[in-house]
């Protein structure tokens, strides 16, 4: 295990970065945000197609035998997905990578590992890996892995799904919605994961209603199912849904890399600005009050990189389908507790040190602040992740 970047990872980064530089500049993002702030989806379908299909990022977590590129023998892994997330964070790119290629994919992988209904999961994973289909996991983005929500949708006797899920990311861009459900078709208790096709043919049975979102580049939606046709991906007798937990905790571990990317852009951009901007006949960046804040921020980002790489490396060692070990769970919690706060701090400093321009709509700083703040709530807050460390660190709470 290494915390450094491998050559292959750097090549992947370069490809993603070049594409984003070309197709996802800050000014293009601002245009898109202005056009879609009131209505419509901000997702960039062209950009997502190029990333998913041409570069092949959609299949990074999916094993080779299911059509992806993940393998134990030098193939892709969570490490590569993390590098992609760093770049997507650096660009606050409006693409459904986290929602489809990480969260939905991870839920399917865990379900596929349950064997019983692995065929549906395998078929969906093949479509996702090819970049032809985009999926979303219909769970609130604010859900914590340490208190996963009980399913709010129900699988009826007739095989259709009914219920409403709020706070879902990537739903507007999804062809397939993966819905955790309660089983209502027999006397026995149980939960499951269902796949609902969100094509226009579904009509009123599936409704994705955008909610005005704090994060302009990653909208949330309310997803309603009204007797929607569904395929069962997995079921379990108990109320514990491992696919949801695995998706949330692994997603949280990888989200740290997106937060690192957000923080890096904020630091780099701010450093460049204070070198140029002059006040009192000096570059603003020559004042110690400013320099010291940026030095502290740099140190936080250095720590964020180490923590995010550690989480990605530990997740890569615990391939999908298998349960997550204690070391990986600790690495995820540490990375989230640190990186979420660093991204928010970096974005706040970015706005502050840009002065008035930082508060305007026309400067991209606000896109990063909005992403960072939403990411802080996503998949468990820093406090949730810290609490989760009390056990492994043997620092018990007061009685």
């Amino acid at each position: 295990m290494t915390l450094l970047y491998t050559e292959v990872e750097e090549e992947l980064r370069a490809a993603v970065r070049a594409l984003l530089a070309d197709k996802c500049s800050p000014s293009a993002l601002l245009d898109r945000a202005s056009r879609t702030a009131e209505s419509g989806t901000p997702y960039d379908a062209e950009l997502w197609k190029a990333l998913a299909r041409d570069i092949g990022v959609a299949g990074l977590l999916i094993p080779e035998e299911l059509g992806g590129t993940a393998s134990r023998e030098g193939g892709a892994s969570a490490r590569e997905a993390a590098v992609v997330l760093e770049e997507l964070g650096r660009a606050v790119a409006p693409v459904p990578f986290l929602s489809s290629a990480v969260l939905a994919t991870q839920a399917l992988l865990t379900a596929a590992g349950q064997k019983a209904r692995g065929d549906v999961a395998a078929e969906l994973l093949g479509r996702l890996a090819a970049g032809e289909t985009t999926a979303a996991l219909a769970v609130s983005f604010a859900a914590s892995p340490y208190a996963p929500p009980s399913p709010v949708a129900t699988l009826g006797e007739d095989g259709t799904v009914t219920g409403t899920v709020t706070g879902v990311i990537g739903a507007e861009a999804a062809d397939v919605l993966l819905v955790p459900v309660r089983l209502a078709r027999s006397a026995k208790q149980g939960t499951g994961l269902c796949a609902v096709e969100a094509s226009p043919a579904a009509g009123e049975a599936v409704r994705v209603t955008p909610v005005t979102s704090l994060d302009l580049t990653r909208p949330i939606a309310t997803v309603s199912f009204d007797s929607a046709a569904a395929r069962v991906v997995a079921t379990t007798d108990g109320m514990e849904a491992p696919w949801v937990w695995e998706a949330l905790v692994r997603g949280a571990g990888l989200l740290a890399s997106e937060q690192l990317g957000v923080a890096e852009w904020c630091l780099t951009t701010t450093v460049a600005y204070v070198k140029e901007r002059r006040q009192f006949a000096r570059p603003v960046g020559s004042f110690q009050a400013v320099k010291h804040r940026l030095a502290d921020l740099w140190l936080e980002v250095v720590g964020a990189r180490a923590a995010a790489r550690n989480a990605a490396a530990r997740l890569a060692e615990a391939p999908a389908g298998g349960p997550l070990g204690d070391d990986a769970a600790v690495a995820v919690a540490v990375a989230q507790a640190h990186c979420a706060a660093v991204a928010v701090h970096a974005a706040e400093e970015c706005v502050q040190l840009h002065g008035g321009i930082g508060m305007t709509w026309e400067h991209p700083a606000h896109l990063y602040l909005k992403r960072a703040k939403a990411d802080q709530i996503a998949l468990g807050t820093p406090g949730d992740h810290r609490d989760a460390l009390a056990g492994p660190a043997d620092l018990p709470a007061p009685v």
Partner: protein, 390 residues
């Protein structure tokens, strides 16, 4: 030859086969270890090393675990600061003379850098060295000198040319702490004890053979020492960490726990884990031959973490935190973060952000050298040292 994990381990086992620590004198064992190149494997052959990658030291240490060590805490300044500077700038003769007894701990070193008028602005220092034939005559006063009372040698920066701007008029020496004119006085600290000293240098005569580097090049030589000092202070992995000590208090005193302290303690646990991972990453970069700038921040992070942890521990202890273990005026050879109680740890940890470069100076270094931000305007540039206002 090219060394790898297996060959270094083999070397260490072969050494142990010929030198049984159970029957050998401790010092003889350490000298033999040095001669076998297993003291610091990245040093050159003949100087305690094998010319191997620095990362392989861990292999040697692992193989020799449980054998007599050189009490690194007691000789930290020699190991962390004097040795790398001597290696980089010393003559062959100086390296042969100093490095072995330094490593075995037979000769303790201290550092004569700071002065009452030159702390963060170290290059302003006024201790002067005047050449008389083959000797230098040194006069001045140094301060904050750890271990001066036990040291055999010191690394010393002195002014040899007051007519040029301050950074250019300095020369670096090895100072003989037993030479006539060297006087060491304890400096009692905030903790009650005196691990620091003042050192008065009056007409101290040093042969030119004790000069390290060129005349007038002392600032560049000192940079090597200071860089290594920060790595030594910020980067030393220790078996028992301050986090571990505070965690033990937390576990053993459940009646003191509150929710507020619990969240703060967990945050510090995360901080120390992040610092550990940063250090791991830094070591990997060094081993891969790409030293990253991460090292510049380690001491800064370490100082903050120590202060917050020790401060939280005193607060956690409540009534016991009001008491202090011992105000006796003593002169210890090392800092004891583990053996003393929380109050001592808190007071001593405050010094971590001052000694070896204040946190403010380190932030300037990061801002200017890593982030490339412009320096503040300076009033002392291009002005001869003797003309600077004092």
């Amino acid at each position: 030859m090219t060394w790898d994990e297996a060959s270094v381990a083999e070397r260490a086992r072969a050494f142990l086969a010929e030198h049984d620590p159970a029957v050998m004198d401790r010092l003889e064992f350490l000298r033999a270890r040095f001669d076998a190149g297993l003291a610091w494997v990245h040093f050159p052959e003949g100087l305690g090393g094998l010319g191997a990658p620095r990362g392989l030291q861990a292999v040697a240490d692992r193989e020799l675990k449980g054998t007599p060590d050189n009490q690194p805490g007691r000789i930290g300044i020699g190991l962390g600061m004097a040795a790398p500077t001597i290696l980089a700038f010393g003559t062959e003769e100086q390296k042969r003379r100093f490095l072995r007894p330094l490593w075995t701990g037979e000769e303790v070193w201290c550092q004569l850098f700071s002065e009452p008028g030159a702390g963060s602005d170290l290059a302003t220092l006024a201790t002067r060295a005047v050449r008389e034939g083959d000797e230098w005559v040194v006069d001045g006063q140094k301060v904050w000198t750890s271990s001066a009372h036990t040291a055999r040698w010191a690394i010393l920066v002195a002014r040899t040319d007051p007519d040029v701007p301050k950074h250019r008029g300095l020369t670096y020496f090895v100072c003989d702490m037993h030479a006539p004119g060297v006087e060491v006085r304890p400096l009692r600290q905030i903790t009650g004890e005196a691990e620091f000293n003042e050192v008065f240098l009056t007409g101290v005569r040093l042969p030119d053979s004790l000069r390290l580097g060129e005349v007038g090049d002392g600032w560049r030589v000192a940079q090597t020492t200071l860089m290594n000092e920060r790595v030594a202070i910020g980067g030393t992995p220790s078996r028992r960490t301050m986090m571990g000590v505070v965690a033990e208090t937390w576990r053993s005193r459940p009646e003191l726990r509150t929710h507020d302290l619990h969240q703060r303690l967990l945050k510090l646990w995360v901080d120390s884990e992040v610092m550990r991972l940063t250090a791991v990453r830094l070591r990997e970069q060094l081993a891969a031959g790409h030293p990253g700038p991460e090292g510049s921040g380690m001491k800064l992070a370490f100082a903050r973490l120590h202060q917050e942890l020790s401060g939280l521990e005193v607060e956690l202890l409540r009534e016991d935190g009001l008491a202090y273990d011992d105000w006796t005026f003593r002169r210890p050879g090392t800092v004891d973060f583990i053996g003393r109680e929380a109050g001592y740890r808190y007071l001593r940890a405050k010094g971590n952000s001052i000694e070896g470069g204040t946190s403010e100076i380190l932030r300037n270094i990061i801002a200017e050298r890593v982030l490339g931000l412009p320096a503040e305007p300076r009033a002392d540039k291009d002005v001869a040292w003797k003309d600077l206002p004092r």
